[in-house]
């Protein structure tokens, strides 16, 4: 199929439909409303369900209902809207329901700004809602990758019976890049014999997250814990850049900032400074093992984020602080430039020399 030039938000919308996400609920919020606008036109063409709900609170509970009835469903929103969905997300995780939630992250906290940010890392990766749960979290760094991750997200949601988040910054949503919608093959999924879709010929099914008996609640917690451990074993995805030859420093960055680091690496190479990059594609599970290996030859690691340094904590955990882990970031909707990132590497290398 020929490539088409598409805005990230619209490409995500189209890919969601092609992945069988034929039930979509939404509430408008910048910078992702184009997804809803696109799907309001497109869903009727494919016989799918589109509904603009009264709030993100309602929308996320619509997901709970539809997912519980065995319907492949999804929503998109941006940071403040995602916060409103946290209660339902916790219920969805507890009831083990599959759905996909796309967060086109904007600057925060509070109402914040509408420009790109990566400030929702912790909310996505560590929970966000109450209780002991996790989401599988993907972070695309191009429009094409966002398109490719949608079918995978739906598949994994169904396979693990777990909510899957796709985290893109405003840049991924607003930028136009050429995309190709490629067919992806997945092994067949288990039947949704747990769904509340009418009890004909079987005992009634219940979608529930209430366990007043502490022993039963503990059993659920442990079952979920095992599921998250399986994800950590089987679902880690990352990209390496420039790791094939010796390097002095290692960037760790995801999404748009990873691309900025790549340009910084090229600029630094022109000056004879070799730097490599590890780009997590899954934020949970985090590519800790590979990061640990790649950290070994580096003098230091540099986490580059559009936040005050959130992934930074996971990098330090993964490497057990064996190497210095530094941070460089911009906040508030400002995006670091390759030049400032490269300068930071040079500054750190210079001060390291001074230390000796």
């Amino acid at each position: 199929m020929a490539k088409v030039l598409m805005k990230g938000n619209e490409a995500i919308a189209e890919s969601g439909i092609r992945a069988g996400g034929l039930c979509y609920f939404c509430y408008p919020i910048t910078p992702q409303s184009e997804v809803a606008e696109y799907l309001s036109r497109r869903m009727p063409e494919v016989g799918g369900a589109f509904l603009q709900g009264e709030s993100e609170v309602a929308v996320s509970n619509m997901l709970y209902g539809a997912a519980g009835a065995g319907v492949r469903c999804w929503t998109t929103s941006s940071s403040p809207g995602i916060s409103l969905m946290m209660e339902a997300l916790s219920y969805i995780a507890a009831a083990e329901l599959p759905c996909v939630i796309v967060n086109i992250v904007r600057a925060g906290p509070g109402l914040g700004g509408i420009l790109p940010s990566q400030g929702d890392y912790r909310q996505a990766v560590k929970g966000g809602g109450h209780g002991d749960y996790r989401c599988l979290v993907y972070a695309p760094s191009s429009v094409q990758e966002a398109v490719d991750l949608m079918p995978l997200a739906f598949d994994r949601a169904d396979r693990y019976r777990n909510p899957v988040l796709i985290i893109g910054d405003g840049m991924i949503g607003q930028m136009m890049e050429p995309v190709e919608f490629r067919e992806q093959e997945f092994p067949s999924l288990p039947e949704k014999n747990w769904a509340t879709d009418g009890c004909k010929g079987r005992k009634p099914n219940v979608v529930n997250s209430l366990y007043l008996n502490p022993v039963e609640e503990e059993q659920l917690n442990r079952k979920l814990g095992e599921k998250y451990a399986r994800m950590e074993r089987d679902e880690v995805m990352f990209e390496e850049f420039n790791t094939g030859k010796p390097y002095r420093a290692l960037f760790v960055a995801y999404g748009t900032t990873a691309r900025i680091c790549k340009t910084a690496i090229k600029k630094l190479a022109e000056e004879g400074i070799d730097v490599a990059l590890l780009r997590p594609i899954t934020l949970f599970p985090f590519p800790s093992e590979r990061l640990n290996e790649l950290a070994e030859p580096a003098e230091f690691l540099l986490s580059v984020e559009m936040s005050m340094g959130q992934m930074l904590e996971d990098i330090r955990l993964a490497t057990c602080c064996r190497k210095p882990v530094h941070f460089y970031g911009r906040q508030g909707g400002l995006v670091p430039s390759p030049e400032e990132v490269a300068d930071e590497v040079k500054r750190l290398l210079g001060s390291a020399k001074g230390d000796r």
């Binding site: 030039l5 748009t256 430039s337 390759p338």
Partner: protein, 182 residues
Amino acid sequence: MQTEAVFAGFGGQGVMLAGMVLAETGMNLGREVVWLPSYGPEMRGGTANCTVIIADEPIASPIVLHPRDIVAMNRPSLEKFCGLMRPGGYVVVNKSLIAVDPDRDDVRVVNVEANRIAIEAGSAKSANMVILGAYVGATGVVPYEALVETAQTVLKKKPKLIPVNLKCLEQGFELGKQARAD
């Protein structure tokens, strides 16, 4: 090889569309492209700009602090972006609305009266096509024929507008080419 151009102007001057036509032309030629808008309140009638990157290799950073070229449809845009350009780049200036000259001597200036040409061609709204033509004429970043083909495809839902837009594109292109020769 990678070129970056910022198309900037008032909201409504069609700079986003001009950039999109350029990006789509690059894509049709099999090259790597990114079209990155500034978005936000400035979408609502204030200044608007987009960055178009065309490259032979996968594009790393979509953010460009120092673009090679600038296409300025109004004075605030020229003032905002001209200082950021890399030396040796092209700055295309809409002389219909910008009385001043760029205050740099290390960049190549292409002056185009985009609004006047568009009005004379019969569509005041097509000034964006004049300046896009001029940009391509001056830089040769994509072949003219490919640009025309893309513009026709983009406008296929409004066939009546095709002739006047192609006329604007062509007149701009000729001016750009001349400026390059100079």
